[in-house]
Amino acid sequence: MKLSESLAENAVEVQTRASTKQEALAQLVALVERTDGFADADSLLAEISEREELGSTGIGKSVAIPHVHLENVHEMHVAMMTSSSGIDFDAIDDEPCRIFIMVVAPDSDREQYLTLLAEISRLFRNEDVRSEVLAAQSVPELIEVLRKSETP
């Protein structure tokens, strides 16, 4: 499963106005809520916030991947947004985050969940990919950048 294939256009936001970590998480949850078959935004925000308390999902190099697997979710839901100014996300390298990908998966599909997280993390280690994603001015442009950057 590729990130570009997992993202619905209505679950992507380019240059968000969110300016704090809590606003960023709430906005990502709102984007996930737009995807088909997702209903429980309140419990998702609570679960994601609880996870962040155990340690930031900012993996460094301006990238954060908040993620959770839940019992009452039946398929994978993914949302993405970018921030031109950057948001303090308590990342381990102390750098503000500019690229955010939220992954919500069913408890029953742990293997696919881990594989998608691994692929996203690997993809955004690449500086060229990060630069092109941040330069994207529209959602279709951003998804096209992902599509051409992913391994076949």
């Binding site: 996870r51 155990l54 340690g55 930031s56 993996i59 460094g60 993620h67 697997h69 381990i92 742990r110 881990l114 594989t115 997280l117 691994a118 692929e119 993390s121 690997r122 280690r125 391994t151």
Partner: protein
């Protein structure tokens, strides 16, 4: 006082098994785990020579495998309420681990015991000795 534990995650099942121990230790000490994976570029070159596969493709596979194990360890730690962040780097493992231990001010470095034989075991022992010499904090092999 134990505040930060650098847990070196490699792509072995021993690393996943040891994660439970590290997670419980972190909870007791109220310490944060920095789960750290290194993509071993020298291993990628050895694989390239052995298989003829392009180095870039091998590195992509090793990166994804390492992240996969890191997220698996994170899931285990989260299950017992341990504080955890993930980090990955690439290069020579002992040098990268020593650098990460300094950068993140680790109080303890934990390495998973791996069952290897022959040349691989010898390389591992050499690497651990080199690491111990470079580190200012204790090393625990689980």
């Amino acid at each position: 006082m134990l505040k930060r534990i650098l847990y070196v995650v490699n792509t072995t099942k021993e690393a996943l098994e040891a994660a439970t121990f590290v997670a419980e230790m972190a909870v007791i000490a109220d310490a944060q785990i920095i789960a750290f994976g290194v993509v071993d570029t020298s291993a990628a070159q050895r694989l390239m020579r052995a298989t003829g596969e392009a180095e870039a493709e091998i590195v992509v596979r090793l990166e994804e495998d390492t992240w996969h194990y890191l997220y698996d360890v994170e899931d285990t730690c989260k299950g017992v309420g341990a504080k955890i962040v993930l980090q990955q780097d690439e290069g020579f493992p002992d040098a990268r681990i020593a650098s990460a231990a300094r950068k993140f001010k680790a109080d303890l470095v934990v390495l998973p015991r791996t069952r290897r034989t022959g040349a691989a075991q010898s390389r591992l022992e050499k690497s651990i000795m080199s690491l111990i010499e470079r580190l200012e904090c204790p090393v625990l092999v689980v």
